[in-house]
């Protein structure tokens, strides 16, 4: 076995992981930004409920979340069957389901830092924007959102990392199907569950670590550039 080049199965798991985590982030991030903004800036009835709901996937063991997803989004589940009959969209046992599971699981991790960032943005700047004629939506997009970017980036990193590593809810919801739902994390789990899987597990760990490293370094560079843009330090 070549130690340096990826085996087809590993390559498949890697690409699938990136696809799943990417898709999860793509859908979860905007939604998380909205929810975080709502939680940060508005007091509405059900505020506490929404907040608690967002955190649930973190508190409950992933198996439970996966099970709930299966019941709700499975073929015969109320949401799943509705989506399938109306949009032809099915989450059952395919990579979109894996992305859904990853998105749900990483949601609280994204919401929290984003919410903190929104809370830290000085509303006086929004006032100033409004006094210059900006509609609330415009001032959100031009002032609040850019100023909260470090937090959004931070949330995205946590979310992406979590989505990459998500295991429990994914295997429960969409099973462990090679090429379809077997991400690196699932492949790694599979390897650890076989008495002879040590080397495979080690290789997969290296791959996951490597990808995570790359993503984190990219995010750090981005964050530094962002901070410079915001803080304006020329040092």
């Amino acid at each position: 076995m070549d130690l340096l080049s990826l085996q087809p199965a590993e390559m498949q798991a890697l690409l699938l992981t990136l696809k799943v985590a990417g898709a999860a982030l793509l859908v979860a991030l905007p939604l998380a930004v909205l929810v975080a903004y709502g939680l940060a800036r508005y007091r509405f009835p059900g505020h506490g409920l929404v907040n608690a709901l967002v955190h649930m996937p973190l508190v409950l063991p992933p198996v439970v979340t996966g099970y709930v997803l299966l019941v709700a989004f499975g073929r015969k589940g109320p949401i799943g069957s509705f989506l399938e009959s109306t949009l032809g969209l099915s989450f059952a046992f395919n990579w979109t389901g894996a992305a859904l599971a990853a998105g749900v699981m990483s949601f609280p991790l994204i919401v929290r830092p984003v919410r903190l960032s929104f809370e830290a943005v000085d509303t006086k700047l929004e006032d100033a924007a409004n006094s210059l004629g900006a509609h609330r939506l415009v001032s959100f997009v031009t002032i609040t959102l850019p100023l909260a970017l470090p937090g959004i980036l931070g949330g995205a990193i946590l979310g992406f990392a979590k989505a990459m590593g998500e295991f429990g809810a994914t295997i429960t919801f969409v099973s462990n199907i090679p090429g379809e739902t077997r991400t690196l994390a699932l492949a790694l789990y599979t390897a650890t569950q076989t008495p002879s899987g040590d080397i495979a597990a080690f290789r997969l760990t290296l791959i996951a670590v490597f990808v995570a490293f790359a993503a984190l370094i990219a995010s750090e560079v981005l964050a530094r550039r962002l901070r410079r843009r915001l803080g304006g330090d020329h040092a």
């Binding site: 006086k124 700047l125 006032d127 100033a128 924007a129 409004n130 006094s131 210059l132 004629g133 900006a134 509609h135 609330r136 415009v138 001032s139 031009t142 002032i143 850019p146 100023l147 843009r229 915001l230 803080g231 304006g232 330090d233 020329h234």
Partner: protein, 366 residues
Amino acid sequence: MLDVDITGRIGHLDLEARFSSDGGVTSLFGQSGAGKTTLTNMIAGLITPLSGRIAVNGTVLFDHAKGIDLPVRDRRIGHVFQDARLFPHMSVRTNLTYARWAGRRKSTRDFGEVVDLLGLDDLLDRKPPTLSGGEKQRVAIGRALLSDPRLLIMDEPLANLDQARRNDILPYLDRLCGEAGIPILYVSHSIEEVARLSTTLVILSGGRTPAYGPVADMLARTDLGRATGRHEAGALLEGKVARLDRQWGLTHVDIGGSFLQIPDLEAEIGTPVRLRIRARDVSLAVTPPEGLSIRNAFGAHIVSITEESGPYAEILCEVGGQTIRARITRASVHDLNLAVGKPVTVLIKSVAIDKRQRTPVPPVPA
């Protein structure tokens, strides 16, 4: 033009403000903590008053009784905040044009002109966090000027600026107010600035507005000493440019039969002007003096003498139907035997009436 009659509350301060002004520059004058910023915030719509009514140029911005509360963005108020509030992530240029691209406000004012006025050319590509205190303040002024406002609120906009820059900006505000007809609500601690710029002066004290009115009347009032700052008391003289003396750089102003010589004023003959004569710049003589460098000597008679406990006395004199205020020592009042009705010569140094003391009379819009 600007009608305010509201009550409100911030922290432990009850605000109860009522004034109206006929456009031009309305100055809000009061001690630190008097509620000036709070009042401007209510007019701007950032704080909701408890009750009352606010109208600008006939447009009702707020009317508690009628349930009107125009959103901030629709009030079209150019607001120079006491704490600049620049957008830290945008360049100075983007900050300046924010109202245009984000607020869809019209480009009524020329960008280059404002940039020149405020000396921002070299700063356009910089980010606010790297600006000096005065630079921030100038950008904030520019941003408000470029927002096509129907009212300009300026909360101590010149506090961190040097005299040269102030001298550039003040005439511009004059013009803005005069030519473009944009009323200005101006918060300042400097009675100089207030007198130089305002049509109407509103005194704010402990959240209340004990007095407001045309700036000339207000500055002539002796009961507002503490609020307007004792030593800078003075009076306003209205006049018309009568002659331009190019040789000596002097302008002769007709103040009702008498002529006042002041350092060069770029104005056409016939233009009405307003001169602020500070009480401490005025001397009195019992006989018309000779061989004096003081160029302006007018026959007058004493209208009132207010002696105070300190060394000072305030003398109001009438010159050609207008009032001039003089501040001299009680000792001199005694030595010269001054009394009400007595004819005296009022002496005013020409150099005392510098640029900051005079202004074209703001055309008061109907």
